[in-house]
C-alpha cells in the first residue's frame, strides 16, 4: 500500500475494506460515524433520506445497488451546531481480486454544523478486475458547512462508478475537492448538487491521467434557491490517458451566480481531452460565465525557465505541478498540506 493511503487508513475514523466496515473513535465532538446498517438500526429516522436524492432507477449502478438491498456503506452525522476543524478521515479500500464492491453512503450535516471529510479511495496495485459502485447522498442543512476532499489511488484494472447527490439548504456551504493522479480503467462520476437559498457550492477537481487511464469526471450544479452560487474548477493533465470533463451549472432562481473553469494540458500523443462547460438558465438576472482552455505546455514558459538554467525536464515538471496547484480557500491547513503533498508527488507518477 502506498504511504499516503496507508496513512489515511491508519488515521481513519471509518474504513470500508472490500465489503467490511471498520470504525474507531478519533475524538471528534458531535460527530457520529457508523457502518450504514448499524446506523439505520440506531437512527431509523434517517432511513427516509436513503434514496431521497438519487433515483434508484437512475442508471444501471443505482439499480444494482438498490437490488442488493441491505448494502454496506458508511453513515456520517455531524450534529446540530457541532464544529470540527480537524477532519474526519474515511477510506474505501479494495485489496482483493474480482470484487464487485457495492456501497450506499449517507452524510448528514445538521443545522449550523461544520465538518471536513477527507477520503482516500484505494486499490492495492496488484488487485485485479474490481468494481467500486457507490451511491452517496449528502444533506447539508441550514447554515452548515461540509467540505469533502477525495484523494484517489485506483489502479489500471479497476472500474469506479459512483453516483452522488448533495442537497444544500439555505446559507450552507458545500465544497468538493476531487484529486487523482493514478491510472484507472474507467472512472465515471458526475455528482449532482442542489443548491438552496444563498448557499454556496464549490466543485474542484484535479486529475492527472497517465497512459491508459480513462476519466469521465464532472459536476452538475442546480442553483434552485435565490442568491445561490457555484464555482466549478477543473484542472487536468493527460500523459496518454483520456479525460472528459462535463460541467453544468443550471440557474433556476433569482440572483444566481455561477462560474465554470475547465483547463487541461496534454503532454503526450494518444491522449484525449474533452471539456464541455454548459450554462443554463431561465432567470434574466443570472450571472453565469465559463472559460475552457486545452493545450500543450507553453513553449514561452518552458524557454523562460530553461533560460535560468533549468533542464527541460525540470522546467516541464515545475509548470505541470504549478498548473495542478489550485488555490483552495476555506480548507483546514492539514487538508491543504495533504493536497499539496499529493500534487508534489505527481511527477513520480508517469511523465
Amino acid at each position: 500500500m502506498k504511504e499516503n493511503i496507508k496513512k489515511i487508513v491508519d488515521e481513519s475514523g471509518i474504513v470500508v475494506e472490500n465489503n467490511t466496515t471498520h470504525h474507531k473513535d478519533v475524538g471528534l465532538s458531535g460527530v457520529e460515524y457508523l457502518p450504514l446498517k448499524a446506523a439505520m438500526k440506531k437512527y431509523p429516522q434517517y432511513k427516509e433520506k436513503l434514496w431521497g436524492l438519487v433515483d434508484k432507477d437512475k442508471n444501471g449502478i443505482t439499480k444494482e445497488v438498490f437490488a442488493e438491498g441491505d448494502v454496506n456503506g458508511i453513515f456520517i452525522l455531524a450534529k446540530k451546531g457541532s464544529v470540527n476543524i480537524v477532519p474526519l478521515k474515511t477510506c474505501f479500500l479494495i485489496n482483493k481480486n474480482d470484487l464487485d464492491q457495492k456501497l450506499h453512503n449517507l452524510f448528514v450535516v445538521e443545522e449550523g454544523a461544520e465538518l471536513h471529510i477527507v477520503t482516500g479511495c484505494a486499490v492495492e496495485s496488484t488487485s485485479k478486475k474490481n468494481f467500486h459502485k457507490a451511491v452517496t447522498e449528502m444533506y447539508v442543512e441550514k447554515g452548515a458547512k461540509l467540505t469533502y476532499t477525495m484523494i484517489h489511488d485506483w489502479n489500471k484494472d479497476t472500474e469506479v462508478l459512483p453516483v452522488t447527490a448533495i442537497k444544500q439548504e439555505e446559507d450552507s456551504l458545500y465544497m468538493s475537492n476531487y484529486i487523482t493522479f493514478e491510472a484507472v480503467k474507467n472512472m465515471k462520476s458526475c455528482p449532482t448538487v442542489y443548491v438552496g437559498k444563498n448557499a454556496t457550492c464549490y466543485m474542484n477537481s484535479v486529475i492527472f491521467a497517465p497512459k491508459g487511464a480513462f476519466y469521465d469526471v464532472g459536476s452538475k450544479v442546480i442553483l434552485e434557491g435565490d442568491g445561490a452560487s457555484a464555482d466549478i474548477i477543473s484542472r487536468n493533465v493527460t500523459a496518454g490517458g483520456s479525460i472528459i470533463m462535463p460541467a453544468i451549472i443550471d440557474a433556476r432562481a433569482k440572483k444566481n451566480r455561477g462560474h465554470i473553469e475547465c483547463s487541461a494540458l496534454m503532454l503526450e500523443e494518444n491522449s484525449m481531452l474533452d471539456a464541455s462547460p454548459q450554462l443554463k438558465t431561465v432567470a434574466p438576472d443570472a450571472e453565469l460565465t465559463h472559460e475552457a482552455a486545452i493545450g500543450k505546455i507553453s513553449q514561452d514558459e518552458l524557454n523562460y525557465l530553461m533560460s535560468r538554467g533549468l533542464t527541460e525536464e525540470d522546467a516541464k515538471n515545475i509548470i505541470i505541478r504549478g498548473f495542478l496547484n489550485i488555490e483552495i480557500d476555506g480548507l483546514p491547513e492539514s487538508i491543504s498540506q495533504q493536497i499539496k503533498k499529493a500534487t508534489e508527488l505527481v511527477d513520480e507518477r508517469g511523465f
Partner: protein
C-alpha cells in the same frame, strides 16, 4: 567572452539578422541602439538559443566554446543570462520556490536582495502573475542575482518602469554587472535601450547602431546616444550630424 561571427538568422523563413559580427570582451559593457523592429531583441533571443530563431549561417562563440547549436538551458548554465523585457507569468509556481530551484546556495547568499529590490511580498506570489512593469523588472534582476551569469543581456530595462523603480533597477543592475559578487569574476553585458536612462547607472564601453538586421555603426556610446537624441536613429546611422 562573447564573439559573434557573420550571423544570419531567420524566423519563419524571413531573415531578421543579416550578417552581424561583434565581440564583447570580458568585463566590458556594450550597448545596442536601434528603432523598433530592427532586430535587437531577435539578436538577444538568438544568443539565448530560443529555438524559433534559426541560425542560417555564422557562429556564436561564448568563452571559447561554439554554442551556436546548443539548447537554452546549457547556454544558461555556461553563464549566459538575460533580463527579459516581457517575461511570461507562470501560474501555480511561486517566485521563491523558483529562485531556490535556480540555485539554492546563491539564494541563501543573496536573499538580502529580496529586501533591496522591495520584493518581500512578491516572492510568495506566482512568477510574474499580476506583477506591474516595475515589479517584473525587479523580479528579473532578483533571478539574475541568484543565477549569477557571467554575461548578462538587458532587454529594454527601462520600459514600463517609473522613476522611483528606475533608481532601484539601475542600482542593482550596476552592482550585478560592475561590482560582481565573486571578485575574480569580470562580468560582461549587452544592453538594448531606447531611452538610454540605464546608461546613467551602467556606463557602456562601446555602442552599436542596428538597422534592418545589420550593424551600421559602432563607436562611443555616449556620443552615439547624444546624436540619436538630437537627430534620430537614421541620422546617427548615416553619421549625417
Amino acid at each position: 567572452m562573447l564573439e559573434i561571427k557573420d550571423l544570419v538568422v531567420s524566423i519563419v523563413g524571413k531573415v531578421i539578422i543579416n550578417g552581424i559580427s561583434l565581440s564583447i570582451p570580458e568585463g566590458e559593457t556594450h550597448v545596442m541602439f536601434g528603432p523598433n523592429g530592427c532586430g535587437k531583441s531577435s539578436l538577444m533571443m538568438t544568443i539565448l538559443g530560443y529555438p524559433q530563431y534559426k541560425v542560417e549561417s555564422g557562429q556564436i562563440i561564448f568563452k571559447g566554446q561554439d554554442i551556436t547549436n546548443i539548447p537554452i538551458d546549457e547556454r544558461a548554465r555556461a553563464g549566459i543570462g538575460v533580463m527579459f523585457q516581457h517575461p511570461p507569468a507562470i501560474k501555480g509556481v511561486n517566485l521563491k520556490s523558483f529562485l531556490k530551484k535556480i540555485n539554492s546556495d546563491n539564494y541563501e547568499a543573496h536573499k538580502n536582495y529580496i529586501e533591496k529590490l522591495h520584493l518581500e511580498e512578491l516572492v510568495g506570489r506566482d512568477i510574474n502573475d499580476g506583477f506591474s512593469g516595475g515589479e517584473r523588472k525587479r523580479s528579473e534582476l532578483l533571478q539574475l542575482m541568484i543565477q549569477l551569469p557571467d554575461f548578462i543581456m538587458f532587454d529594454e530595462p527601462e520600459s514600463g518602469v517609473d522613476i522611483e523603480n528606475m533608481k532601484i533597477v539601475g542600482a542593482v543592475a550596476r552592482s550585478l554587472v560592475k561590482e560582481g559578487h565573486l571578485k575574480k569574476r569580470k562580468r560582461s553585458s549587452l544592453i538594448i535601450t531606447h531611452t538610454g536612462y540605464i546608461l546613467d547607472y551602467l556606463s557602456a564601453d562601446k555602442g552599436y547602431m542596428m538597422l534592418d538586421g545589420k550593424l551600421v555603426c559602432k563607436g562611443n556610446p555616449q556620443d552615439m546616444f547624444k546624436m540619436i537624441q538630437k537627430s534620430g536613429f537614421k541620422a546617427c546611422a548615416e553619421c549625417k550630424v
